[in-house]
Symmetry: C2
Subunit: 193 residues, 2 copies
Amino acid sequence: MPRWKPDAAERLQAAALELFDEQGFESTTVAEIAQRAGLTQRTFFNHFTDKREVLFILSSEIQRAVVGEIAACDDAVPPLDAVVRALEVVADGLFEERRAVATRRHAVIAANPELQERELGKNAALTDAIAAELHARGCDPDTAFLAAGTAVLAQQAAFQRWTRPGETRTLRHLLSEAVRSLGTIVSEDPVTS
Amino acid sequence: MPRWKPDAAERLQAAALELFDEQGFESTTVAEIAQRAGLTQRTFFNHFTDKREVLFILSSEIQRAVVGEIAACDDAVPPLDAVVRALEVVADGLFEERRAVATRRHAVIAANPELQERELGKNAALTDAIAAELHARGCDPDTAFLAAGTAVLAQQAAFQRWTRPGETRTLRHLLSEAVRSLGTIVSEDPVTS
DNA sequence: GTCTATATGCGGATAGAC
DNA sequence: GTCTATCCGCATATAGAC
């Protein structure tokens, strides 16, 4: 019998999500979150550097997974395709089973500018990490940045749809659809043809 | 004879840029900036909501200009092309003559995470404004978001090059080049073909 | 607890426009 | 004269460093 219940970070995230949903991000204190999770404020700050960070518990894991998938991909695969395939694998492996939580989380973030800023930072970090991996695969830096940015943009669009109430299609499906839309949009541009 | 010298905001920005360049963003106080501009700390905060904002004095003007250009564009022009044309006009009209300042500004921002976060926010706001204008022109919201995001991504890549020491090509030229690169990257993706 | 810096609220002064 | 824009002074809340 363990001395403490496991998954402290996950329980803190669940408690935080509930409280942010009920009373808003700003008017919720870290002490409240810890109490609802059956832990102390000190434990909260042991797991997260600040109050916002409790909503981004999966970010680093996602980033590692995506970069790993790209690294494992055959070098002959063109850059954007490599990134999109990686995002699809991660969509199935990490996102699909968490749709309900992701939707509530998305709503909380949409309601608070501070959290939106943090999310933009996470997306930028993901883009940079992907670009670095593409560069390591032999891409020139500019192409790497554009391919990474394009893929993350498609991911954002897909994620936005995926968390809309009533939407039932998988994130993988919506991601493919977003990439196809991008193809249409770009090929319609006279400068590119 | 005016009671005060004109262009208080511009003088504050110039003073701030010098000081941030000399001693860094964090170790420069608002009082110092105001003093170098011949003004007081209170006046600084009358013009800018916080210390970072002094480096983003042109953002709202750029956003208005871009959105205006898109609105003025013929409805038959496809969405991405409309945005790219608008960015090219703004590149010539607002950026090209400020290359030296923009380069120093870019270096200061690159050296500070807080400023990078603010810049990401400005880019996201620009993307949203562009997407809203495209939507008003009849685009569906998803296409609008993707087209706006794509254009802003190309703009970011072009801007990054434009502010590299030794680079002499115009921002308009680099922007066209980035859009062409995007075309290649996306068309090489099997999902889109 | 003190010191420094950021940021805000409120009032007040003056020049130019009407 | 009144109104508005612009700027200054003072007080203060807040947060972090020491």
